[in-house]
Structures are given as structure tokens and as C-alpha cells.
């Protein structure tokens, strides 16, 4: 009985937390972090653009791209952004069960994307384009690999949110936690929007 009454009190205490700016510090920190991430990916994209034709007489990644396959991966990641906002929307309405379904769907779509990237990398290796083959391939694997790691971290965050929700620790009052995870996830998606066009579609 005592346990049943203690949980809502803890939620209220969390909700009452306010800052002098009137804005959430963690949300502010996430936006600053995402702003700095623009510089990280900007550097990696620039390096790729400079090196993408420097193949030292060997195959470069653009020679072995499989655009239809990567297009499907891009579609999967875009749809994961939709399921992410639906998860947040459900949590804000207090529909925790539906929110869990969308969180898990988002993580699974992210997993499909990473799986696709692993398959793509393996295919490239078989074709003779490895990380150290030439400057073009090094720049390509570094750029897309970094993005893949970001997706992987996003999946870890999503699964943590799923576990929290399953343990009855993620309620409407803590929707900001899921919103911050969502911001990170959408940023990873938006970076891929740029990579897909600049790396895969714009001709060398």
C-alpha cells in the first residue's frame, strides 16, 4: 500500500523542478550539444568532399554505391523519426503502453538501418574498398561509421527509455526525458538526410 502511494509523489517532485531561465537545463544542454555536433559532422563531410575522388588508382566508394539499397535504408531512418514523435505524443497523452510500442519500433528501425550499414560495409570490403584502401575510402568509412555509431548510441538511449517505461518509471510527467532522446534521434536522422544527398546522390 505504501509503495503504491509513494510513486505519484516522486513524479510530482520531478515535475516541480524549475530553472531561473524558465527553460529546462537538460533540453538547453542537448541543443548546445547538437549545435556542436553540426561542427563535428561538418568537418567529416568536408574531409570526404576533399578526398572522395582521391583513389590512388584503386576503386573509390562512389564506384560501388548501391543507391536503391541505401535509399531503402534512408526511408527506414526517416520513418523511425516518425515513430519517435509518435512515441513522445503517446507519452504526453498518458498512453504509456502505446508509447512503449513506438519506442521499441523506433529502436528496431534504427537496428535495421545499422544492419544495412554493416551489410553495405561488408559488400564494399568484398568489392575491394576497405578502410585503408585509399584516402577516399578512409574518409567515407570514417564519416558513415561515425554516423552509424551515433545511431547505435541512439538505440541504447531508446532501449533505456523502454526499460524505464516497462519498470513504470517513465510517465507523462517525465515526457521531457523522452523528448531529449527524441531530439538526439531526429538529429541523427537529419544528419543522414544531408549525408544521403551529399555522399550518395550528388555525382562525383
Amino acid at each position: 500500500m505504501a509503495t503504491a502511494t509513494a510513486a505519484p509523489v516522486a513524479h510530482e517532485t520531478h515535475e516541480e523542478h524549475r530553472t531561473s531561465t524558465g527553460m529546462s537545463n537538460t533540453k538547453l544542454a542537448m541543443w548546445v550539444f547538437l549545435g556542436s555536433e553540426c561542427l563535428l559532422f561538418g568537418g567529416l563531410i568536408s574531409s570526404y568532399l576533399i578526398y572522395k575522388t582521391r583513389g590512388a588508382g584503386l576503386l573509390v566508394p562512389t564506384d560501388v554505391f548501391d543507391i536503391p539499397f541505401t535509399s531503402v535504408s534512408s526511408f527506414v531512418l526517416l520513418m523511425s523519426s516518425m515513430t519517435m514523435v509518435l512515441a513522445l505524443s503517446a507519452l504526453r497523452r498518458g498512453d504509456e503502453a502505446l508509447s512503449r510500442v513506438w519506442i521499441l519500433t523506433t529502436a528496431m528501425l534504427g537496428g535495421v538501418f545499422v544492419g544495412g550499414q554493416v551489410y553495405e560495409f561488408t559488400t564494399f570490403l568484398r568489392e575491394g574498398v576497405g578502410f585503408t584502401t585509399n584516402p577516399a575510402s578512409s574518409a567515407f568509412f570514417t564519416l558513415t561509421g561515425f554516423h552509424g555509431v551515433h545511431v547505435g548510441l541512439g538505440i541504447v538511449m531508446l532501449m533505456s527509455a523502454f526499460v524505464m517505461s516497462s519498470k513504470d518509471k517513465l510517465h507523462k510527467e517525465q515526457s521531457e526525458t523522452l523528448e531529449i532522446i527524441g531530439l538526439y534521434w531526429h538529429f541523427v536522422d537529419v544528419v543522414w538526410v544531408v549525408l544521403f544527398t551529399v555522399v550518395y546522390l550528388v555525382p562525383a
Binding site: L34, G35, G42, M79, V194, F196
Partner: protein, 106 residues
């Protein structure tokens, strides 16, 4: 400043807003999917000099849709938008200069 004053100040900076409906999010996702389809189709058609600006334009539209609708920049406090845009503009400026230094555009 009393506790009441702080509370009022905080309340005045917090902008209450309506969140988009699930259907609106689905519509945005569909638009993103259609634009992606156009991007891929355009890369297979011989469009000459128009191709790259067209692809970059579609990319910019997708980018803007995701950050304004899915990341809620359209509805959230201005400071979040300013922080992100500052990082984005700085990145674009720095790396445009860097690429120019490497004569990438030549």
C-alpha cells in the same frame, strides 16, 4: 525578488503551445518519403547542371521539415532555435572557407 516574482517571471518565459496531432506527424513523414523518392529519381535522370542545386534544395526542405516539426523548433522557445542555427551557420561558414582553401570548388 520574492518567490512569487520568480515564479511569475518563469511563467512569462514559458510559452504554452499546442503540439501537432499524430496525423500531422504522419503527413510530414509522408512528405519526407515523397521528397526522398524524387531525390532518388532525379539522380537517375540526366538533368545536367540543374541536378546538384535541385538535390541540395530537396535536401534543405527535408532538413527544415525534420528540425521544425519533429524536433519542435517551430513550437519551442526561440533560444533553442538560435543555439542550433548558430552551430549550423558556424559549421557551414567554417567548412565553406575550408573547402575554398583546398580549392574544392575550382
Amino acid at each position: 525578488m520574492t518567490t512569487t516574482d520568480i515564479s511569475e517571471a518563469v511563467d512569462s518565459t514559458e510559452v504554452e503551445h499546442e503540439h501537432p496531432s499524430d496525423w500531422q506527424y504522419i503527413k510530414i513523414a509522408l512528405i519526407l518519403a515523397v521528397i526522398t523518392g524524387f531525390e532518388v529519381a532525379a539522380s537517375y535522370v540526366s538533368l545536367g547542371d540543374v541536378l546538384v542545386p535541385l538535390l541540395l534544395g530537396m535536401m534543405a526542405v527535408k532538413f527544415w521539415l525534420v528540425i521544425t516539426w519533429f524536433m519542435h523548433l517551430r513550437f519551442d522557445g526561440k533560444i533553442f532555435k538560435q543555439l542550433f542555427i548558430a552551430g549550423l551557420v558556424l559549421a557551414v561558414a567554417v567548412y565553406t572557407i575550408t573547402l575554398s582553401a583546398f580549392e574544392f570548388w575550382a
